[in-house]
Subunit: 167 residues, 2 copies
């Protein structure tokens, strides 16, 4: 059923596409203001929070692992070695390219059970619950936190950049 | 069709419930550390960003207006005068109580068109697109930004607080 495909693959592809746009604005901001890009890539909102690079990597991980579970597919593994804006953008492009390989027919109506590890234990939920209560909140959490790290550091972005264009 | 109901009402109710939990942790943190609660309620990540209180109010607005549009209902109007943690929590509780008044039968399969104003113009989209590309990202954006304002100010919260308990 295409509904679960759209709710997951289409929604998350858009979220990651918007995050690429935000990262590109940040890279341009760093260049214009002569800020060392690594300062932004390694920025965080609190000392024991993950820096921007890790926020992007986790958004990518949740996106590919979450959709793969729903599609009963095997997600690719990435190295988590991105250290620059172009590398982070490339990580997201690779993730989007993987999402594009998933076919609507691999998704069901959301009733198929999905088993996932979390906080040291394993849970088995209907796919729709897994998507709406874990995958989407988790993807948006890391996209928004990455956005907030950059916003806090003076990059000129607004919610419209996060939500994306309205065709 | 219950799918759109669950994807909107159930998902957003959970997001707002988790935000209440985060606000209650922040209020307890302020009390324990003898921090004036208004400092946190008015905190922001950058001078031209909305403070925490406004993040919560907008999360509430998007939640009630977005779900009401999908259900072809009339959402309540609130005053936007919350200035304390208990008032912000009450705002979210009122919003959740409103969401509970919406019935699954008021929702369709996501194909019904929805017209909404945005950035000075009006758009008409299928309900499923409106939900997945505007309402959910927007709700999670403000919930995550509220969370990040508090995290940045030293409140001891983690992603598990944002994502909520795993029953």
């Amino acid at each position: 059923m295409p509904a679960m495909y759209d709710a997951s693959v289409t929604t998350i592809t858009r979220a990651l596409t918007n995050l690429i746009h935000v990262l590109e604005k940040a890279a341009a901001h760093a260049e214009a203001k002569k800020i060392e890009p690594a300062v932004l890539v390694n920025a965080r909102l609190y000392p024991d929070m993950f820096p921007l690079a890790k926020q992007v990597q986790i958004a990518s991980d949740v996106a590919k692992i979450g959709t793969a579970r729903l599609a009963q597919a095997e997600p690719p593994k990435y190295e988590d070695n991105e250290a620059t804006f172009p590398e982070l953008v490339e990580r997201l492009r690779k993730t989007i390219a993987y999402l594009k390989t998933l076919k609507a027919e691999q998704f069901d109506d959301g009733t198929r059970m999905v088993t996932f590890p979390t906080q040291g234990e394993s849970k088995t939920w209907p796919g729709s619950r897994y998507l709406f209560q874990r995958v989407l909140p988790n993807v948006f959490f890391h996209c928004a936190t990455g956005y907030n790290v950059l916003r806090h550091n003076g990059v000129e972005i607004g919610k419209a950049d996060f939500l994306g264009p309205l065709e």
